[in-house]
Amino acid sequence: MGDYVVFHDVSWHASYAVYFFVVGICAGLSFFSFLSWHKPSLRPVREKSAYLSFALLAVAGLLLISDLSQPLRFLNVLNPAYLNFTSPLAWGSLNIVTFGLASAAYLFMLRKGDEKWGRTLAWVTALLALGLPIYTGYDLTAHQSRPVWNTPVIPVLFVALAVASGSAVASLLAMGNEAARNMLRLYLLWSTAAVAVILVSILGTTNYGGSAEELTFIVLTTRTMGAIFIGLGIVAGTAAPIAMLLAPFGRRQAGLMFAALLVLVGSAALRYALLMGPQYVQTLY
């Protein structure tokens, strides 16, 4: 009664969650393009994954730049005189640039048909791609004052989400090829299962945390955010595809496609909820 609290805007808006989603798929596809050099069954997705990954990197870069309130100053992040290496964003920007250069070189070798350099650059690109979900997760984890973000498993969760959403898109790309589909089904199943395990651990530790953690748990599990996080993210986007992929229906093309679409919807919802939910309590402090 009669309390006065000043409204504070959240630091990062939903566009950042879209960036997480796009860059996650980009990293996942790059990984599957690399894997195709070692698993012959994935050969049909090699070029498609590499091209789509590069296109999504361009989209992700534009999203990231447009999200800055001073978009033209993104060059400051590449200025060695300004770079602050205690910031995860500084490492992330270097990671994105080197990944982009390696991807371009890899695509060039793919077009040229140079197997030796193609294989080497696929490995370099996949290694740099691994850095993308790790840095985006670390970007949140570094903010130790925010519940959920401050759990050290967030980068691991983002890696699992990248593999899950990457294998979902690769499954759609491999439509019609049974060998590739069977292989991608396994990756989709196990990466989504890993996401489920990490989510259970995050929810558990959050619920047993201090008052900010408890309030964040309530925010994440009730009302609109609850519908997004629990409904779309966990039930529809994680549990349902796992059940579907384990069932005989999931071994068929239609089942895999459906599960892949659910995983994509779920991974987008999870990223949105994990970004926005933990910021809510802070706006009231």
Binding site: H8, L68, Q70, L83
Partner: protein
């Protein structure tokens, strides 16, 4: 602070030959006149919807025994500021002699990492359009009135405080008033568990305001008003 407790090289509390400015807020003396907030707005032409300093209050007790608790808020000019660590381009930095945490407007890219890193909501984004200045679309915050303090004045909020609730000075100087107040009163800082070592000390701060309360989940009408004002101002 003794040498052993200094965990990061950026910390200057207790460092010989260096000033370390701090503010003590005696909440028993605060009457909630908001003059500090107005003085700050006047000093910096801070736009509508955002504040460098603000004074939230909470009504506690049951009628007729009710009381308003005020908790003046501002940047805590932490000795180990997470915002400085988080900024990718060193647009935010700490002045070694004085401990001011300041912002380089011309370098800020507007990524809001510093806002996310601050446990105190002390930072805000300036709107894209302002009348009297070209400093727009970058992060801004309280500067402890760096421009006044370096000329021997106290910050605008301290100058105007009618109840002398806000006291400012060099905590590294054992003869200063802030050193005396911190040494002779039980003081609290906001969210000490974050390890930021804030340099705004509160005397008799109300716990329900200093920590996350369970009622934080209840949306208040005033929050909606504030949110509408913020959105209207920032769309303009």
């Amino acid at each position: 602070m003794s040498e052993e407790l200094r965990t990061s090289p950026i910390e200057t509390r207790g460092l010989a030959g260096k000033k370390r400015y701090a503010m003590v807020v005696d909440t028993r003396r605060c009457i909630g006149c908001m003059a500090c907030q107005v003085a700050c707005k006047a000093e910096y032409d801070t736009p509508l919807g955002v504040n460098r300093t603000w004074v939230p209050y909470k009504v506690v007790g049951t009628y007729p025994n009710v009381k308003k608790h005020f908790l003046p808020r501002l940047c805590n000019h932490c000795d180990d500021p997470p915002c400085v660590r988080a900024c990718p381009v060193e647009a935010t930095y700490k002045v070694e002699d004085g401990g001011f945490v300041l912002q380089r407007y011309e370098r800020c890219i507007g990524c809001r990492s510093c806002m996310a890193a601050c446990p105190y909501n002390a930072r805000f984004m300036l709107p894209a359009h302002r009348t009297y200045t070209a400093i727009t679309s970058v992060v801004d915050k309280c500067t402890f009135c760096f421009h006044r303090v370096t000329q021997g004045l106290v910050p605008a909020c301290v100058q105007t405080c009618i109840g002398r609730s806000r006291v400012f000075g060099d905590i590294n100087d054992p003869t200063s008033e802030v050193s005396y107040l911190v040494a002779t009163n039980a003081t609290q800082v906001l969210r000490p568990e974050q390890g930021t070592k804030p340099h705004v000390f509160y005397i008799a701060g109300d716990r329900s305001q200093m920590e996350f309360g369970r009622d934080a989940y209840q949306r208040r009408e005033v929050m909606d008003q504030e949110r509408r004002m913020f959105e209207r101002n920032f769309k303009a």
